[in-house]
């Protein structure tokens, strides 16, 4: 399964990376870096909204987590994590990670509006 990585800027811009990119979250240095073999990318901590790791093929099913982001310019964006498994808050780094079976979304808390988890199974059981 091939993955791709996307960085969402604080103004809603996107930068897409191929599979071999490596990301590092360094809150102490106020720096998110993404390095590929021959290029170095960096975002000031105040200016990245999210980093998404998504499979190239779309996935469906299971619980779904919908994440609402609000960018610096007031625009909003909804992300969806299929096959949702867990959410982990890292207060020290001011980030929150949403984990699906194949999808992972790491969000800068400054740009998170809210998130909502839907579980189709719980509806069917009622």
């Amino acid at each position: 399964m091939k993955n791709r990585m996307t960085v969402l800027w604080s103004d809603g811009r996107e930068t897409l990376f191929a599979v071999d990119a490596k990301a590092n979250f360094d809150r102490d240095r106020l720096l998110l870096t993404v390095n590929t073999g021959s290029a170095h990318y960096g975002w000031h901590w105040d200016h990245f909204a999210a980093l998404l790791i998504t499979p190239e093929d779309s996935v469906v099913g299971g619980k779904t987590c919908t994440i609402s982001l609000g960018f610096a310019n007031g625009e909003e964006l909804e992300l969806s994590v299929a096959d949702f498994q867990a959410v982990e808050l890292n207060q020290a780094k001011n980030i929150i990670q949403f984990k699906g079976k194949q999808v992972s979304a790491i969000i800068n808390l400054d740009y998170l509006l809210n998130y909502q988890i839907r579980d189709p199974a719980s509806v069917e059981n009622k």
């Binding site: 800027w9 604080s10 103004d11 930068t15 897409l16 990376f17 191929a18 102490d28 240095r29 106020l30 720096l31 590929t36 073999g37 021959s38 290029a39 170095h40 990318y41 960096g42 975002w43 000031h44 200016h47 990245f48």
Partner: protein
């Protein structure tokens, strides 16, 4: 930080002011004083670091290895400034110096220092890379 062998100095301030200097005798960036000073033959200029967007030091060409053909630094549009993209070619290296509040970019004929509060993102690439 004190850099000698440079040919000219350009200071770009928050708010859009630009100051270009030739015949510079000395350039000093003192983080502890939050001040940049430019010593000219007939006087001295001082710039508060808090108002710095970035500075450029023109250098005589150096015999050093180029690691990145192209560097790009995106600056924010805060403080009434337009957001802008600064391109720097023939980059030897760069340093994200959070303790000094500066992103330093060292190129063959140029050293550039960006105030971190102004920096949105950067990328440094070799020529054969395509994202």
């Amino acid at each position: 930080m004190s850099v000698n062998k440079f040919t000219n100095v350009k200071i770009y301030s928050v708010g859009g002011q630009r100051h270009f200097f030739d015949k510079v005798k000395d350039f000093q960036l003192r983080v502890e004083n939050s001040m940049i000073t430019v010593q000219l033959e007939d006087g001295l200029f001082g710039f508060p670091l808090d108002r710095l967007r970035y500075f450029e030091l023109g250098l005589a060409p150096q015999d050093l290895k180029v690691n990145f053909n192209l560097g790009e630094v995106f600056l924010s549009g805060a403080d009434q400034a337009e957001s802008e993209l600064i391109k720097i070619s023939q980059v030897i290296n760069y340093e994200w110096k959070v303790d000094q509040g500066l992103l330093m970019v060292f190129a063959l004929e140029l050293t550039v220092g960006f105030h971190l509060d102004q920096v949105v993102s950067y990328n440094f690439k070799n020529g054969n890379y395509s994202a």
